[in-house]
Each structure stands twice: as C-alpha cells, then as structure tokens.
Symmetry: C2
C-alpha cells in the first residue's frame, strides 16, 4: 500500500496547500481543511476497510480501540502511533429511544452519546488529534512551548486534559468576572495556565490570535482544522455501529458549526471509498432561536452569513452569532440535502426533559436537537417511518443548574411542563403506602 | 453445552438456596450471593471463553458489546437477551498514569475509569443486572409494581436511569432537608418517584425495608446480591484489557464494601475456570479515615466488625460506618492477601489533585484510593517494580464543589498544596507575554 499522507489545503483553493508540519491556521484568510488524497486510500477495498475497522473495535490496545485512532489512516495517517495521546475517546454508546420513535411515528431513533467520555463532551474527539499532532511535532524537534485557546467551556476542558496527559503546557484565556470558577474547574484541575483578562470574549480572542502569531504557542481554537479530523469519526463510527448503513437523518446541534462540517466530512469519505453507496442521509442542524444564523441563511436559500449578536440561551455552548465554520457547514447542507431549524428555550427544555424520562440525561444542546426533531416531524420534513440518529454533544452532568432549574420551575421563559417534584411525607409505612397508592395505583 | 443456571445461596450455608425468580434478599438474616455452578461453565475451555469474550468486545450489537452482558453466561445465564436493559455500561477505559508510576517507582499504574459511563459511576455495572432481571420477571408475569432504594447518590441515579429505560417505576427515599436537589437531580430528571421523609437516613432505610416486605416493590439497595454480578465484571474486564493477565495489586475505595467483594468474585471465577493461574493479585481497600471500620478490623487481624459512627468526609459515597458487605469483604481480603488503608481528607484531596495533573479528573473516592496507593508504597507494602490497577468509581463531574473548593483553598482540614489559581491580567499582548515568560520561561 502506498504511503498515506494528509495535508492542509484552503477550502476554496485546492492548490493552496501546506504540510501538516507547518504551524498554519489559514491561507491568506481562507479556512484550511485537512485533505486526504483518495488514490492511495482506494488501494484498500471498502470491505477491507470495514474488516480492519471491525477488528480494531475489539482490540485491547489503547490506540487501536480508540474510536478516533482505530481509524488512524483516515484521520492523521502520518503520525507514529507512539506519539498518539489517547484518553479512550470514541466508541460512545449509540442507544435507542424506542418510546420517542413510537411517539413520533419513526422507525428508529438513536442517540449518539458523545458526552459519555473522558471530559464529558464531544470535544475529546477533536482534541486527541490536535494534541497528538502537537506532541508529534514536539517529539520531532519543533519548538512549541504550549497549546492555547480562548474558551470558557468544553474546548478548554478537553484541551487541558489532553495536554496534561501529554505533559504539554496549556493556556486558557477567558474574560475576567464573566465566568465562574465552576465553569473553568476542569482546566484549572488539569493544571492549565488559566489567564483571566480584563476584557470580553472578543478581546480574549484578539489576544490569543496575536499571541499565536508566535509559532511556539499552538492555537487550539476551532479555527484549527486538525480537530475536525477527529470529530468526523462521529459519523463513521455511527455508521459502523449501524452495520455500515446510514440512517435517513442525522440531527445535530450547531453553534460554531465545526461539528456539522465534520459529520459531513466523515460521510464524504465513506461514499468516496465505497463503504456507503446509494441514498445519502440528510442532515438537520438544530440551533437555539437565540443564536440561529444558519437557520436564517437556510430560510433564504442558503444565503451568505449575516452575523448575529447571539442572545443568552440555556444551550450556552452554541451561543454563537458569527460561526467560524459557516462556509463548511453550508457546503455540508448542500451535499446532504440539509435543513436548519430554530428551537426556543421552552421547547429545548421540554425536549431534554422528555428524553430524560426514557433513561437519558440530556444536556441543553441535545435538547435543541430533540426539539428540532419534534418540530421537523410535525412539519413533515422528517417523514413517518424514517430513521434518525441524534448527536448528543455533552453529558448532562455538566449542566446540573439547567436540570435543577427546570425541575424547580425557575428557568426564564420555560414552562417546565414535565417538572418532577419531590414529595415530602411523614416517615411512616402508612403514609408511604398512601402516597404510592396514589402514584402507582 | 449444558444449560447454565445461577441461583441464590446463603453466604454461610451453601445448601440454603433460592431460585433467582424468588423475590428474596436474605436467608434467615444471612446475606445471599448469586452462585454459578462451575461444572457446566467448565465444559468450555479457558481459551474458548477468552475467544468468546474477545470476539464480543468488538461486536456492534448493544447487548454483546456491553461490558456486563458480553459476559452474560458468567453474570445471569438464564436471562433471555431480549429482556436485557443496557445503557452501554462497561468497557470503561483503563488508562495508564506513567508519571505516577515513575514517581512511585512502580512498573505500571493504570486507572480503571468506571465513572466514564451513562450515569457517571460504577453503579451502572450492577444496576443493569438488577433492572434487567426485574424486567425479565415482569415480562414473564411477576407482579412487580416498582423498584425502590434509599439513597442520596450514585445508586439512586443508576436505578432511576435504568428503570426509566425499562419503563419501570422507580422509588427513591431520602431524608427531608438533608439532601439538596442538586444531589438528587439525576433521579428527579429520570422521572423517579422521589419521596423525602421527615426522618434521617436510617429512618428511610427502615421504611424501605418495611415497604419491600410487599414483594411487589423490589429492593434495589446493596443488600440485593444481583448487583454484585454486574460489578464483578470490573475485574474480569480489567484482566481482559491487560491481555488476560492480572496486575500485582488492585487498589479500590471501600464503603459498603460490595464493590470489594465483587472485585474478588470476578477474580475467583477466572481462577476457577482457568483464565488466570499462578500468583494471585493482592487487593488494597482504601477507606476515608472518617469511615474506616474495615481498616480497624484489618489492623486487628481481620477482627469482627465494630460499627462506627461515620464522620463527614469529602468522599461522601463511602461515608459508611456499618458496611452491609463486611463479611464478604473479609473473605475477599483472605483470598487475595488483602490490606486496608486509611486516608485523611488532606491526603485524599492532594492525591486527587496530583492525579488530575496527569490528565484525569478524579472524584474524591478515587482520591482515597490514590492516597492509599502512595501510603502503601511509602510503607513498602506495595513494592518497587510492582504493577497496580486503581479502580476509579465515579466521574469527577459529579463533584464540582470538591474540585472548586480544593483549588479555592476552602475545604476544611485540607491544605490544597496543589491549588491552581486563576491569574488576572491586563488584556494586552505585552502583559500576557510577561505572564507567560514568568510561567513557561
């Protein structure tokens, strides 16, 4: 088999390329993507790829069993496996929601639970790739002193954990006074250099961009296209879990939209290499109504981005009015006959709570996706009898205040129709029997 | 192969047996265990068992791929697989901590991360078995109206999630005014009937014991020995991940001690069936000094239990002075040349924080285990060059207050030697460069 090598290229100019060894995040202002030449990948047949990935799924080797690194040839083929930094990411459960499917008249609804993972969100999938590659560069002599991002959430948590495992310093920038220690406690615990700046989030982004002009500080924000290579395994792994078949629909929450482009990029590769063929799945991007620039574009026939000032939303990780990966997401919607749907705070909260009654513990972003699913079925866009995979992006344990607020009826603009109240009763057998008779019949 | 069937038997009287179909939790006051007759299991060779379990580890079928149900014949052989209620439990990452190993002079230290799972703790392993079996009983006509437990933590979370998935009502009892909604929010979200009684925890236990005399309410507390059958897969899975070899030591935090007896029970079966042979691993049980009846017994040569009034500890899930599974744990320590070690609040907190610097996010119970590991190495009990697997019981995301309290230096009796403080600086390139020069050199 020929040597496999991926490289960076500009998304709007295939001849503008850079080696992955270069510390580069864009090409004259144009976004980069990691490109995998198809010819050498095609030297292995579709069935051989399926067999290889199937065999690795049961491996006890940490790198092979990783959901990301089990697909190393499709992700970052030139990395030596001893430089990989893995925390057991991937192989997230794909669990059925049969009562939801029955209620909506669908043949199958499954949740891809990307939050059941080391740092509690899907960001692990991308961060293992970025940190592994930086680790490789450092191991081969590059002068990189640290990895850095401006983030107050899942990105900084994943960056700090993987950097700590690799023994690389991580730097996290955030606006002073606007973020609680609880929101930052994962990177703090993982020993990141957490720097609170007397400015807002845009001010932090400005500083991190300036700082990473110095190529010894490696940028880990979503502008870095390496992370997409790990995130794209979410669709590959899901299709593998379904016996190398695709569902009729993927429903995925979207903010910065990198995850949407990644989902499509994973599907692309399976079609390009023959692991999937025939009818393509469709993609529904779910946005909070408070931050829905993609929905507005979709409603105007995929019109150019009109940046919004995002309003507050319970789905805090997708509160983004000017998404970095907008152009890639538009391309993805074109290739996969995509739609975009806005969901209110009230609807996302009820949808998450309704899902929890089937044994899940959904984060608000998954609530956005489930709310969009309900609305798209009601509109007839997703049709009776179709099958749906919903991408759940984080673990509900990261959102205890959302959960308690809902069940206490204290979330602004949320009616909490499904609130479950704790009953207070006398500590006697008789009192308990009475209560249970009332509840269980 | 002969029909495999497990049954209940009293731990101190092998002839006192009950069918698993019976709703029974003890035999004339003696604890029960689930017993698997060995002769039919031995009809398959050790290599055949390894091959079978190895093949299932890579299966895309939800039941086969479950870490628990992939070992169905060893867990609950008579359950029809269509009655299994799985949420993707098991196959928790076994991640190396090479810097810890080097610091302590050990050949290998690995963390078995049982908190990277659906409800965030190892309780999922046992609860899938209990709820699946109740589901089977209900599906075959038993009149069971609900499953119930008295718990304020991980047990109620796991019970409520699995019961919700199965569509079975769950009842959770807790003392009114002593537990915050945040501690209970998982069962609340999963739709459990949460009943706050005007009494203390013992009062709740009394009510649940009384209530479950009525066999239509199934007891899910740790007295129920079905849960051990799922929990015992933790040692089987770990040994499988290590290529069917055992480490020199397992270190495990202990409260009610069911997990200790389960760990040993999994090892027993591998020795009985020839999957392991030769030198046995040793077991170190780590207890918080605030609740260490097993340590006191160990120090007196495995003396009978002297129940304690457990004091407050950060390791709240193991704050148990009168452990239900004490007799089973003593047996386990005898078979596996076990030791027991007490760890202070200060030591458990530092040990957790030190582990986090290697990319983990440890709960306080794992801190107890890591503190015990450090102490046992210092004492020479665990010797230079030995290999250790530490059982991590829950995800740190369940303990945000422990994490923030540590790094803010606000935990009583804890010095927070490794606190990582957030730096506040001016939002300029120059100020950031100065700070980084100071930190990174």
């Amino acid at each position: 088999m020929s040597q496999l090598r991926a490289h960076f290229r500009a998304i709007d100019n295939a001849s503008a390329t850079h080696d992955l060894e270069e510390v580069v995040y864009d090409h004259e202002g144009s976004l980069l993507e990691v490109f995998h030449p198809l010819a050498p990948l095609r030297e292995r047949s579709a069935q051989d790829w399926k067999d290889l990935f199937g065999q690795r799924a049961g491996s006890m080797d940490l790198v092979e069993r990783s959901g990301v690194w089990g697909k190393l040839e499709w992700v970052l083929p030139q990395i030596p496996r001893e430089h990989v930094v893995t925390l057991g990411e991937g192989w997230n459960p794909l669990l059925p929601a049969p009562r939801t499917a029955a209620r909506l008249g669908l043949s199958d609804v499954r949740l891809k639970l990307c939050g059941t993972t080391h740092t509690g969100s899907f960001k692990d999938l991308g961060m293992t790739v970025l940190v592994s590659w930086v680790n490789h560069l450092v191991c081969t002599g590059a002068k990189i002193r640290a990895v850095a991002c401006a983030s107050t959430g899942d990105t900084s948590a994943a960056l700090a954990a993987y950097a700590a495992a690799a023994g690389l310093p991580a730097i996290v920038f955030l606006p002073a006074d606007k973020v609680s220690l609880a929101q930052l406690i994962q990177p703090v615990a993982n020993g990141a250099h957490v720097l609170a700046l007397d400015t807002d989030f845009d001010g932090c982004m400005k500083v991190v961009q300036e700082l990473t002009q110095d190529k010894s500080i490696y940028l880990a924000n979503s502008k870095n296209s390496l992370r997409i290579e790990g995130q794209k395994t979410v669709s590959i792994e899901t299709v593998q879990q379904l016996g190398w078949t695709a569902p009729d629909w993927f429903v995925i929450p979207g903010g910065n939209l990198g995850n949407v482009s990644a989902l499509a990029k994973g599907l692309d590769l399976m079609y390009d290499l023959g692991l999937l063929s025939g009818k393509r799945p469709r993609i529904a991007v779910a946005q909070a109504a408070a931050a829905d620039p993609l929905v507005k574009s979709f409603e105007k026939g995929l019109a150019p981005l009109e940046a919004q000032t995002a309003r507050t939303t319970l789905a805090s990780a997708i509160r983004i009015g000017n998404p970095v990966s907008f152009p890639k997401a538009i391309d993805a919607l074109k290739r996969y006959e995509g739609v975009a749907e806005s969901v209110s705070e009230d609807a996302l909260s009820d949808a998450a709570a309704r899902g929890d009654l089937e044994g899940f513990y959904h984060c608000p972003h998954t609530g956005v996706a489930l709310g969009a699913l309900e609305q798209l079925v009601a509109k007839g866009t997703i049709r009776s009898g179709e099958s749906v995979v919903v991408i759940s992006t984080a673990h509900g344990l990261k959102f205890s205040e959302f959960k308690t607020g809902y069940h206490e009826g204290k979330l602004a603009g949320v009616e909490s129709r499904l609130a479950n109240r704790v009953a207070r009763i006398a500590p006697t057998y008789a009192a308990v029997q009475d209560e249970l008779k009332r509840r269980l019949g």
